[in-house]
């Protein structure tokens, strides 16, 4: 029996992934070309091999929770502050102090205690049909709830975290009841039941099914630079409008990362985050994936510059995380699928 136990333990060690000094294990939600390029650069520069598990952030966080202190992961990368906050409150991230990180990442884009640091910024904006909508008709997210937009709005599913964070920011600005009323009214104004990706919303507007869409900026960049002619045409037909410029500013969010609580390679993990937030890497995110750098003013991408400067909502991003579960429930109540 003892022999059997030893054998099975030994076998399980072999079967489980083991880690060596010059490796870094990353759980990542991000599935963009820019990341693959940067990981490769990092390996070339430091000789540290980067192992990646891609998955939905929520599953990766659950997995970190189940694996506990035995988890092989060193870094968690994900999009949306809501998720980063969720990871922090689940206890799977550890606080990190680094002068470089603090100077690379502005205060509003990182966790006050250093559990996570922002890496890129994206804004959730109103995209409109250049043919059928005048920019003078557009003003705020709140105005999309008005009856004049009946049957003219498209947006994706409420299972999507970007929508959850947008509603979380509205909860932060106006409170629960008004946020619920907004979600209900916008759902009623929709031209079709929510479905598809952010890109599909732009396509629906270009096709003439609806007049405005709620979507993230970088998806429009991807469409404009697509290898498919029809997608470039879509990008031509629609315009970007940054809402709420006269009050709190357009809703923004970050993608970012943190060092896991169980990290065996903490030093390398910090080095990795420092590398991703360095000025040069930030430029790659802008050029390849059309995301804003965490220091929005430093933006170098021509396409992003063409959309113009904008005022961003200054709400502390960790509040979006705190309001997230509430936002999901409000969507359920509002009947926004």
């Amino acid at each position: 029996m003892k022999y059997f136990l030893k054998l099975s333990l030994g076998l399980s060690f072999l079967l489980c992934v083991y880690t060596s000094a010059a490796e870094l294990n990353v759980y990542s939600h991000r599935h963009y070309d820019s990341d693959a390029i940067l990981f490769k650069e990092f390996t070339e520069k430091t000789n540290i091999k980067v192992n990646v598990v891609k998955g939905s952030a929520d599953q990766l966080i659950q997995r970190l929770v189940t694996e506990g202190k035995n988890s092989p992961a060193d870094v968690l990368l994900t999009v949306d502050a809501g998720r980063l906050h969720r990871a922090k409150s689940a206890g799977v991230l550890q606080p990190v102090k680094s002068k470089t990180l603090r100077s690379n990442v502005p205060k509003s884009m990182r966790d006050p205690e250093g559990h996570w640091y922002g890496m890129t910024v994206r804004s959730r904006v109103i995209v409109y049909s250049k043919d059928r909508v005048k920019t003078s008709e557009l003003s705020t997210y709140e105005s999309l709830a008005k009856p004049e937009w009946k049957g003219r709005v498209v947006a994706r599913s409420s299972s999507n975290i970007y929508n959850q964070s947008l509603l979380a920011s509205i909860i932060a600005a106006h409170g629960k009841d008004k946020a619920l009323a907004w979600a209900k009214a916008v759902r009623k104004n929709m031209a079709r039941a929510p479905r598809g990706s952010d890109r599909d919303q732009a396509r629906a507007v270009a096709a003439g099914l609806a007049d405005v869409a709620i979507m993230n900026t970088y998806y429009l960049g991807i469409l404009a630079n697509s290898s498919v002619a029809a997608d470039r045409e879509v990008a031509n037909k629609v315009g970007v409008f940054f809402p709420n410029q006269k009050d709190r500013g357009a809703h923004i969010n970050v993608s970012g990362g943190g060092v896991t609580a169980s990290a065996k390679n903490k030093k390398e993990a910090i080095q990795f985050l420092e590398f991703l937030t360095s000025a040069k890497s930030q430029e790659t995110f802008g050029n390849v994936n059309y995301e804003y750098p965490v220091k929005i003013k430093n933006n170098q991408s021509e396409l992003l510059k063409s959309w113009g400067k904008f005022k961003a909502d200054k709400v502390n991003l960790s509040i979006l995380g705190a309001n997230n579960a509430e936002a999901v429930k409000l969507f359920d109540l509002a009947g926004w699928e």
Binding site: L9, S12, L15, C16, V17, N25, H31, N51, V52, V53, K54, G55, S56, D58, Q59, Q62, R63, T66, E67, G68, N70, S71, P72, R86, K150, G151, R152, R156, S157, S159, I161, Q164, M190, A191, R192, A193, P194, R195, G196, S197, R199, D200, R203, A204, A207, G208, L209, N324, A325, V328, K329, D332, L333, E337
Partner: protein, 547 residues
């Protein structure tokens, strides 16, 4: 009263003595342990139902109704359309003579090679194709009418997509039932003056009903298990609800309660099926010595029959395959690299491992239960094969819970290891291997085993020298089915895959999630091609046995 209690006690004593005194040995103990271990993930789910679920009231009051509604609409619609496509084509190829009948007979099963989520991706723009129609409504009727139509239209589209690849489950059993039907029944109906229509409605269809219900129950389980297609079309169902509650609201107990509702629904359907099938025992089941004479169809009717058989193949196979092939030809250069070869190898390796282990366990479990005639093992086996009725996402959650407890107890980390993924596949697909092996053993080996045991042959010798050689075909079929199911499996693999580990199915899903559907066609086609090979082999086998 007391006498009654004593009687019960005596019965149990006898049962326990019988089961444990005579039948306890290395075989039965290991079979017992294996059966229970395979049941553990599902037991974990049931066990955790007692935990308080903070969002349950919210779920019950808001979305539970939607999930029930969405799941039921899909189940009813998909089942009805599958019956229509499957039974009509099966009746035509089984009872009528028209050009191309032999060809249709086997090509009608091919959609089985396409997983539901890949079918959905291959039709991803079907809804967009309806945009001009919707815009017409918007311009000519009203925006409200357009919103109503576009809200509702997603259901029929999803039902068509699901049924177009699931109808072969009905077709296969219905065709076999029609062929095996006693020709006395059919000919009696004919001599009593029934034409082909009333023969079908009043004799052939009622006789085939139990078989058709069996096929439909598979369609229903596949519909309820689907995650990729309903996620793609954003239809609120139990599977999407489980993912949403677990991951977005962060309420695992709530998600488990939804899973339990789903399992109750499935259990209800399984019982309903048993109950509906029970009537079959009263039907005439005598085998016919010759197949009944097929109806000769005239030119016009032949043409209609061909159309009728072509339709399901076109929507379930030719259209999806040709679209995927077109996209694959456009994107293959971007997708095929060394990584792609690795993930193909991953898929094949893990599917091979899973099917080998599943078949070995299945043969061990059925043999032990039958050879030693142990009711306990038979019962634990029945528990272990329940995994097939449980959606992959639920099994994955059960395994994660199990891993957490193992981790806390002995610090042995199981998540992210291949062994855990393989265990999950075994739990999910044991029934797939168990069914053909068990029925094969019942048909072919029971009496020989009894004879050899009375002659003093050991169990291991019986197994290796008699059972395994006699069941060779059933074993190969079982292994192939598990292999294909593992290749196609998505939700469970998504949740449990380890580091740097991608399979063809997760790659397809990831690419499709990133709105790169043309790119996802390459791994999707690989899955379909691999899944086709066993279908061709199976068809060859059926042909041989029919001769």
């Amino acid at each position: 009263m007391a006498a009654y209690l004593i009687k019960i006690a005596q019965y149990w004593l006898r049962f326990i003595k019988h089961e444990f005194y005579f039948k306890l040995n290395a075989w039965t103990i290991s079979a017992l342990v294996i059966g229970l271990v395979l049941f553990l993930p599902m037991a974990e789910v049931v066990w955790h139902l007692t935990m308080p679920a903070e969002s349950w009231e919210h779920l019950r009051d808001t979305v539970l109704g939607q999930y029930i509604k969405g799941s039921l609409i899909l189940v009813v619609g998909t089942a009805a359309l599958s019956i229509f496509l499957g039974v009509s084509s099966a009746w035509l190829v089984a009872s009528c003579k028209f050009p191309g009948r032999k060809f249709f007979e086997w090509i009608l099963i091919l959609p089985l090679a396409i997983p539901t989520y890949i079918a959905a991706y291959s039709y991803f723009d079907l809804l967009d194709k309806l945009n001009p129609f919707l815009i017409w409504i918007r311009l000519n009727i009203s925006t409200e009418a357009m919103a109503l139509v576009s809200d509702a239209i997603v259901y029929p589209v999803t039902i068509i997509v699901l049924a177009s690849v699931l109808y072969p489950y009905v077709y296969l059993v219905a065709r076999a039932a029609f062929i095996q039907q006693s020709n006395q029944c059919i000919e009696a109906a004919r001599t009593l003056g029934h034409g082909p229509h009333s023969t079908f409605w009043r004799t052939a269809l009622p006789l085939a009903r139990p078989a058709i219900i069996g096929g439909v129950s598979l369609v229903i389980m596949e519909t309820l298990n689907d995650y990729g297609a309903v996620k793609h079309f954003n239809i609120p169902t139990f599977t999407t609800g489980i993912f949403r509650t677990w991951l977005s609201i962060g309420d695992l107990p709530g998600a488990l309660r939804l899973a339990a509702c789903l399992m109750v629904l499935i259990l209800f359907l399984l019982i309903l099926e048993k109950w509906l099938r029970f009537g079959a025992k009263f039907h005439n089941n005598s085998k016919s010595d010759r197949p009944f004479k097929p109806y000769e169809l005239g030119q016009i009717k032949s043409f209609l029959a061909i159309l009728c058989c072509l339709f399901p193949i076109i929507i379930g196979f030719i259209l999806p395959i040709s679209r995927l092939a077109y996209w694959a030809s456009q994107t293959i250069e971007n997708v095929i690299d060394s990584n792609f070869l690795i993930l193909t190898a991953n898929s094949i390796a893990i599917a091979t491992a899973a099917s080998l282990i599943t078949v070995l366990l299945a043969i061990f479990l059925t043999f032990t239960s039958r050879y030693f005639g142990s009711r306990t093992i038979n019962a634990t086996n029945r528990l272990a094969i329940l995994g097939y009725a449980v959606p992959g996402a639920v099994i994955a959650i059960g395994i994660l819970l199990l891993a957490k407890q193992v981790n806390q107890a002995i610090g042995w980390i199981m998540t992210g290891s291949l062994s855990m993924l393989v265990l999950a596949y075994v739990v999910r697909f044991l029934a797939v291997a168990w069914q053909p092996i068990d029925s094969g053993m019942e048909r072919n080996c029971e009496q020989i085993n009894n004879a050899s045991r009375s002659l003093g042959v050991t169990a291991i010798r019986s197994l290796t020298k008699i059972n395994i050689p006699m069941l060779r075909n059933a074993l190969v079929a079982a292994g192939l089915f598990v292999f294909v199911d593992t290749m196609k499996e998505l939700p469970l693999t998504l949740i449990l895959r380890p580091f740097n580990f991608e399979t063809l199915s997760t790659k397809t899903f990831d690419l499709a999630q990133q709105a790169q559907i043309p790119e996802s066609a390459v791994p999707a086609l690989c899955i379909i091609i691999v899944s086709l090979l066993p279908l061709i082999w199976l068809n060859f086998q059926i042909r041989n046995t029919e001769k």
